[in-house]
């Protein structure tokens, strides 16, 4: 029933697993980034896969699950800290069905599945977001915050507002799947 969201076919690259990545997105260090499939990276997004741990060998810096959306102009940057005198970046792991709104900056350590992050949010370093949580638009989540499962956070600094309904998981799952289906290339139509 919902109207399709069109994109120009020349802008997006579609992978075998159904990931759609905008050519206008900045993907640094793509060999260190994992996309689970059917994940959309919108134009203007910046994903810093190049900020990897300093130890040698292959390392996964940012991993995203299935049916994720990285909104327009988002910045995904792995968190860093100096531990015992050595500076290091730490990997960022994001589950399935996670939507990140346009203009948000994410430096979280872990984001669970079925998480919604609003527009223009700042998710600080080493934030842990559990499953089915939701962050309102324009929220500032300070570093090291833990957002428990099924809770709605808002404000600056973001704080607990209310519990989300028990069926959030199904709701978010169908919404993210629907969004992927609505996201269609324009050239097929004309």
């Amino acid at each position: 029933m919902e109207s399709p969201i069109y994109y120009s076919k020349s802008e997006f690259i579609e992978t075998d697993t159904g990931n759609k990545v905008s050519r206008r997105a900045t993907i640094a260090g793509p060999q260190n980034i994992i996309l689970g499939g059917k994940t959309i990276i919108s134009s203007g997004a910046i994903i810093r896969g190049d900020l990897r741990q300093s130890r040698p060998g292959h390392a996964v810096v940012i991993s995203l699950g299935r049916y994720c959306l990285v909104g327009e102009g988002c910045v995904m940057r792995p968190p860093y800290k100096t531990y015992r005198g050595t500076f290091n970046y730490y990997p960022m792991k994001i589950g399935d069905h996670v939507h990140i709104g346009a203009g948000s900056v994410v430096e979280a350590a872990t984001i669970g599945s079925h998480v919604e992050i609003g527009k223009n949010c700042i998710i600080g370093k080493f934030v842990i977001i559990k499953d089915c949580a939701k962050v309102a638009d324009n929220s500032i989540v300070p570093p090291n915050t833990v957002i428990p499962a099924l809770s709605f956070f808002a404000g600056s600094p973001a704080g607990f507002v209310e519990d989300l309904p028990e069926s959030t998981q199904e709701l978010v799952e169908s919404q993210t799947k629907q969004f992927y289906q609505r996201f269609q290339p324009l050239d097929r139509d004309r």
Partner: protein, 563 residues
């Protein structure tokens, strides 16, 4: 605003018909489908307002530790580990060593288990730190235990302990009496079923005689006088409580508006030196007005809750034991029983599609996102026009259902329509909705359709269907009312709304949805009215409120309505 559908929960009201939708009170009894529950025993919808809630477990929202209920009370519902809240901005505090090795480069100090003692608590949001209020720690672990000493000697916790000591024998006595004599009488009230000793004590305290106030006797209503004895016993036992500290002396500590506070205010140079009400009111004791006296707060615990039907006390929601699990042992949500209804206005869908297509064609435009204002402007319904709308019903049951929709007529329910906006003009409803009332079927739900992962064929088919549907959309002007589309477990029916010229406000109407399904297990269903012989069918009816959007009055300039 996109068109929306909300579902009605009667919440034990005798009026099964919801209030007319244009009244403000109407929103109270309507909820989104996914927040509702469904009791199989009572065959009724339940909402968060009417279910009875029980705590099934406690956890700290910061360290996610599951706290056993025995220690919850001892720790006064707060986390007893290393979790503290910033008294200034409510952010969680982190422990930092006093001399971080990288303090020079201006970054936030690292959270490290090694470092120079003393350690202190630091807020990474507002940069408050506990050294300001003189709280430091010898080691970075077990902070709550280290703080325990100073907390226990604080006047508020001493007072609280004394209060507890004072009321403890009374609670114990009333719990004894409630278990022996009060239970049979209170069992008549369903909400007394789970009364604990504390609620018994509280109700005993409430039932005490107050001079000059009429005597309230809840038990006499149920025609029993058994409770009077133990209540009077309670009254006699209750000695007067004498506080440790006099209220007048307490104010000297800088809270009651005494001279010290006046002095402080007089020399005030910075507004932020005064702690705001929000910063102060979560303390159990009247605290100082000054920001510099605020102490770090232990983080209050959260709970996982199970929910019961208020009528039959069957469990509707029972979470898994693990605090951060989002699975449920029992989960009876309405979305699994009632058809999901979504409403769309084809002219809006068309416009959004065009707009996003336009945006995609532009080489360096903002690609697909429409601002809310743009959507608002496009979604308006012009007064005096007629608009088709689509109602799509998704069947969650494994059996096909027969659905009948009927629109509740506004002027029947509300003889004086919208009082605020168009009271004198509109004796008539501002719009007329036409919707076919003939029953139609919605096919059964089958898991197979859920699997859109590996069957690209179906995906493509659906895509094709949708695209071709979009192409044809302007053509079938002939048929806007009636069944438009059937696929999988979804049926789309069309309706039409005709707006009057002088219409104002929102297009919002109540819609009764009744559906008939085959009752595969037809056991003791006491109250179900329609039950035939061999293929037993059941009918369930519920109200919804449909909101199509705001009406743009005639006088306004026609914005972008031409297609």
């Amino acid at each position: 605003m996109a068109p929306s559908v909300l579902y009605h929960c009667p919440c034990f009201s005798r009026h099964l018909v919801p209030p007319p939708p244009h009244l403000a009170s109407s929103s109270h009894s309507f909820h989104p489908l996914h927040t509702l529950f469904f009791c199989e025993e009572c065959d009724a919808v339940r909402c968060n307002r009417c279910v009875s809630v029980e705590v099934s477990g406690y956890y700290c929202p910061n360290c996610l530790f599951e706290v056993p209920s025995a220690s919850v009370r001892a720790e006064k519902n707060r986390c007893a580990r290393n979790c503290f809240m910033c008294p200034n901005c409510r952010n969680t505090l982190s422990v930092v060593p006093s001399d971080p090795p990288d303090v020079g480069d201006g970054r936030i100090a690292p959270i490290s288990t090694v470092g120079e003692p003393p350690f202190f608590l630091y807020c990474s949001h507002c940069r408050w730190d506990s050294a300001e209020v003189g709280i430091t720690f010898e080691k970075p672990t077990g902070l709550a235990a280290q703080l325990q000493k100073s907390e226990d000697s604080a006047p508020d916790s001493l007072e609280f302990e004394r209060l507890k000591e004072h009321f403890d024998p009374i609670i114990r006595a009333s719990s004894l009496s409630s278990s022996s004599s009060a239970v049979p009488s209170s069992a008549a009230h369903s909400h007394h079923l789970h009364s604990t000793s504390i609620t018994a004590a509280a109700s005993a305290a409430l039932a005490r005689d107050i001079p000059g106030v009429g005597r309230y006797n809840p038990l006499s209503r149920s025609g029993r006088g058994t409770g009077s004895k133990d209540r009077s016993a309670n009254k006699d036992e209750m000695p007067d409580y004498k506080s440790r500290m006099d209220a007048t002396t307490a104010s000297k500590m800088g809270s009651g508006g005494g001279l010290p506070d006046v002095e402080f205010m007089r020399h005030l140079e910075n507004v932020s030196d005064v702690a705001s009400l929000e910063q102060r009111w979560s303390y159990s004791w009247a605290t100082s007005l000054q920001t510099k006296d605020l102490k770090p707060l232990r983080i209050p615990l959260h709970s996982k809750r199970s929910k019961r039907c208020p009528a039959c006390t069957h469990i509707l929601i029972k979470p898994e034991q693990k605090a951060q699990s989002v699975r449920y042992k029992i989960k009876l949500v309405a979305a699994n029983y009632l058809p999901a209804i979504s409403i769309a206005l084809p002219h809006q869908v068309e416009k959004f599609g065009h707009a996003s297509a336009e945006a995609a064609k532009r080489p360096y435009g903002k690609a697909t996102v429409l601002t809310d204002e743009e959507k608002e402007a496009m979604s308006g319904l012009l007064a005096g026009e007629t608009y088709p709308f689509h109602v799509s019903l998704t069947n969650p049951l494994y059996d096909p259902i027969q659905v009948k929709l009927s629109v509740q007529r506004m002027h029947v329910a509300a003889p004086s329509s919208d009082p605020g906006t168009a009271s004198e003009k509109a004796r008539r409803p501002p719009f007329v909705v036409s919707l076919s009332t003939t029953p139609f079927s919605v096919a059964a739900f089958a898991e197979a359709w859920e699997y859109d992962e590996d069957d690209d064929i179906l995906d493509d088919d659906e895509l094709e269907a949708r695209l071709s549907g979009r192409e044809k959309e302007p053509k079938p002007k002939t048929k806007t009312v009636g069944i438009l589309e059937k696929r999988a477990n979804i049926t789309v029916v069309g309706g039409e709304v005709m707006l009057r010229k002088e219409a104002r406000g929102n297009v919002k109407f109540n819609m009764l949805v009744s559906y008939t399904y085959r009752a595969d297990d037809a056991p003791a269903d006491m109250g179900s009215p329609s039950k035939s012989k061999a293929p037993a069918t059941k009918t369930f009816a519920f109200y919804t409120v449909v909101e199509l959007g705001p009406i743009i009055p005639r006088e306004e300039t026609r914005i972008d309505v031409d297609t």
